[in-house]
């Protein structure tokens, strides 16, 4: 026993002997770790840090693809003209409306569908597959499909209106609020499956005993949802909301294919605004200023995301 204790003590604290060797080993392991993760850090720096630095620098210049002269440093001029004075805040408002509207549709519908899929029902597998289908489609294809549906002369909506013998000729793409609602509806149609699957996974993880105990105590449906399901789903719900908000914040494909920012500028969100500056006007400096401002504006969301994922 004493021998064993001595051996333990010697290994744990005695100077000399094993300790320097372990320190050497620790250093070697640290070097090995650094060497092994090095390429990843280089890659991360190349694909995240370098573009970010370039974007910040470019936002401080008058870089224009169609300009003849050399690019010049203009300081905060792009931020002044594009973020403080331009249509940035109007587009930010449209972006927030799309984000909020989409969340208000996606989360409740996703929740109800997840709840329905939780219970054993006939054809559940097929139902799940059908529900997941929109998520598998390319947003550009979905956008073009819905643009055709919404065409006021040739689309399905016109056909439905004609079938209902109504004299109205709905032009969703030509009316500001209706175009905005259309974007929210299509965005929700694509992303409800994602929300459903995340919430379903969260619901499956809730211990069945809790529901059984609630049933024994005579809790009603609403109480079960309010006191058990929603609180237990908190992290999944929060992660879902943050992920959807982040995706909707930088949404481009749907707006581009369905409305192209119109009618007027009623659906011109921030990504579309940046696209216009870069790919249509070739004003790379201004586009970078908008992109950097978007990133700064999203910092609280990044913080929230980090907090939620840590939880």
């Amino acid at each position: 026993m004493a021998t064993a204790l001595a051996k333990v003590t010697s290994r744990a604290g005695a100077p000399g002997g094993q300790a320097p060797r372990r320190a050497q080993g620790g250093r070697a392991q640290r070097w090995a770790g650094a060497a092994l993760t090095g390429p990843v850090w280089v890659l991360l720096a190349a694909v995240i840090l370098a573009p970010l630095v370039v974007a910040i620098y470019t936002s401080l210049t008058n870089d224009n693809l169609a300009a003849a002269g050399p690019t010049q440093f203009v300081g905060g001029q792009n931020y002044h003209s594009q973020v403080l004075q331009g249509s940035f805040w109007q587009s930010a408002g449209i972006t927030v409306i799309i984000m909020a509207g989409s969340l208000l549709v996606q989360i409740p519908v996703g929740y109800v569908l997840a709840r329905a899929l939780l219970h054993p029902l006939r054809g559940r597998a097929a139902f799940r597959a059908v529900i997941a289908l929109p998520m598998m489609l390319t947003p550009v294809a979905v956008g073009l499909m819905w643009r055709f549906f919404a065409d006021p002369d040739l689309g399905v909506i016109r056909a439905i209106a004609a079938g209902l013998h109504t004299s109205s000729n709905p032009n969703l793409l030509g009316t500001p609020w209706e175009a905005l609602v259309l974007i929210v509806v299509v965005n929700s149609w694509i992303n409800i499956p994602f929300v459903t699957l995340v919430l379903l996974a969260g619901m499956i993880g809730i211990e069945q005993e809790l529901f059984e105990a609630a049933a024994v105590d005579g809790a009603g449906w609403f109480q079960v949802e309010r006191r058990i399901t929603i609180p237990m789903l908190g992290p999944a719900l929060a992660a879902c909301c943050v992920l959807r908000m982040a995706a909707d914040y930088r949404m481009f494909d749907l707006v581009y294919t369905i409305t192209q920012g119109g009618p007027g500028t009623s659906t011109l969100n921030l990504s579309m605004l940046a696209y216009q500056q870069s790919m249509v006007y070739f004003e790379i400096g201004r586009a970078c200023a908008i992109a950097v401002a978007m990133a700064i504006l999203a910092l609280p969301a990044y913080w929230l995301f980090a907090k939620v994922t840590r939880a």
């Binding site: 390429p39 693809l65 169609a66 040739l154 032009n171 030509g174 920012g261 119109g262 007027g264």
Partner: protein
């Protein structure tokens, strides 16, 4: 013994470390090689890369390539660029030496950006010298729309002025004649609407609707800027009158067209219940294609109505030039000279592509039989002008289109048309002033 065990452990650890380190080294080297391998040059003297955008003109170029390859031994590769990204991609590629495309097909409104951005080479001297191309056969206005600040950066691949298209069946049914003045056009629109058809077909969309609005302004004798200055001229009496007329036609225009531009207008026209529209000749192949249209053989083209001799129609069309960074400019010119030779015009027509407006086409009976709108095309090209070639034009078109689209969503009543037109033109003038602030050359 203890020492040797420790050494053995160290040796084992070292051996264990060597494997991942070797993997890391190989992976890093592979990444480096992969990254570097993308920077190779292309398009040597015996091969050229042609950037095209999906269109009948591009199809015709691709059809001509095998014969060119057989004749010269120069290999031709085509890169298809989406229209919306065409100019940006060409400009980006031209920033890297040795990476620019050799031959570039582009739309005429892109000329200023591409030429100013250093993406195009001056090909005027070769074009004028070429016997097979016959530069003199191209009308002066058409030559000019391929020039930027007096330098020929491209050749017309197609000439697509805006002309009047009308549905011959509907016109015959209602006893109408192709309008030559704007009051006649508006009157025809009213008669067509009263008979249950669409009397007009103009774009009001937020991306390119302004092209069609500006066409009306130019036909009325107005212009974007005053003379050759950069002073906005959309509040001129001619522009005001044109805008009032344009807005008055909103109610007799299919909603599909109201939401969009040329494509949507053409789609609506091909359904057979639209009486008339002013649109580019490039859409002829769609309108005449039975698989895409309900009106083949039931429509015709004519000169657009003008409000007097000062009226002009707008000239558009594909242009084709040589990249300034081309590593094979000589081969690129050989391809252009071969493809655009006067004798190859029939190939473009056969492929459904609108040909470049050559004066000699008027005497070509076979061509006129295939493209009945050719006299209207040549006639329009002669009274045609192009919008100012300035790099701010994409921003101007988007800004004006957004304002027009906003005005259209308000559906102004007949009694409010004057007020709506005033509001629209003054907002457009303000926007132009803001965009052109500090620019003195237009």
């Amino acid at each position: 013994m203890e020492q040797s065990a420790s050494a053995a452990r160290r040796s084992g650890r070292a051996a264990r470390l060597k494997v991942p380190l070797a993997v890391v080294a190989v992976a890093t080297a592979a990444l480096g090689i992969a990254a570097c391998s993308g920077s190779g040059s292309h398009g040597g003297g015996n091969s050229i890369t042609v950037a095209v955008s999906a269109s009948p003109s591009a199809t015709a170029l691709e059809a001509l390539a095998p014969a060119f390859e057989k004749k010269t031994g120069i290999k031709v590769s085509f890169v298809n660029l989406p229209y919306a990204q065409l100019a940006a991609k060409v400009l980006l590629s031209s920033r890297e030496p040795g990476h620019g495309y050799d031959v570039i097909q582009f739309d005429s409104p892109m000329l200023a950006s591409l030429a100013n951005g250093g993406a195009l080479a001056d090909i005027g001297p070769q074009a004028r010298r070429s016997a097979s191309y016959d530069y003199a056969d191209i009308p002066t206005q058409v030559q000019q729309y391929a020039q930027y600040h007096g330098t020929t950066y491209a050749l017309p691949l197609s000439t697509e002025p805006y002309i009047l298209w009308y549905n011959t069946r509907l016109f015959s049914k209602l006893g109408l004649k192709p309008p030559t003045t704007w009051p006649q056009y508006v009157n025809d629109a009213k008669k067509l609407s009263a008979a249950g058809f669409y009397g007009n077909d103009s774009g009001f969309g937020s991306q390119i609707g302004a092209y069609y609005w500006l066409e009306t302004i130019y036909l009325y004798g107005g212009s974007l800027f005053s003379g050759s200055t950069c002073t906005p001229a959309l509040s001129s009496p001619a522009a005001q009158a044109a805008t009032r007329t344009y807005l008055s036609l909103l109610g007799s225009t299919p909603a599909t067209a109201v939401n969009g531009g040329g494509n949507e207008m053409t789609t609506a026209f091909t359904q057979g219940n639209v009486g008339q529209m002013i649109n580019a000749t490039g859409y002829y192949s769609i309108m005449a294609d039975p698989s895409q249209s309900k009106i083949p053989g039931k429509f015709a083209g004519a000169l657009p109505p003008t409000a007097g001799p000062q009226g002009h129609t707008l000239l558009f069309g594909w242009l084709i030039g040589i990249g300034k960074n081309s590593s094979a400019p000589s081969s690129a010119w050989k391809f252009l000279q071969f493809a655009l030779a006067k004798s190859n015009t029939s190939t473009f027509i056969a492929k459904g592509a609108p040909p470049a407006a050559r004066t000699s086409l008027l005497d070509d009976q076979a061509a006129t039989k295939q493209l009945p709108y050719l006299p209207a095309l040549i006639g329009s090209a002669k009274i045609g002008v192009h919008l100012p070639y300035i790099t701010q034009m994409p921003q101007i078109i988007t800004s004006l289109s957004q304002l027009l689209s906003q005005a259209a969503t308000r559906h102004p009543a007949a009694s409010q048309l004057g007020q709506a037109a005033n509001a629209l033109t003054s907002a457009a003038d303000s926007s132009l002033k803001s965009i052109m602030s500090g620019v003195d050359s237009c």
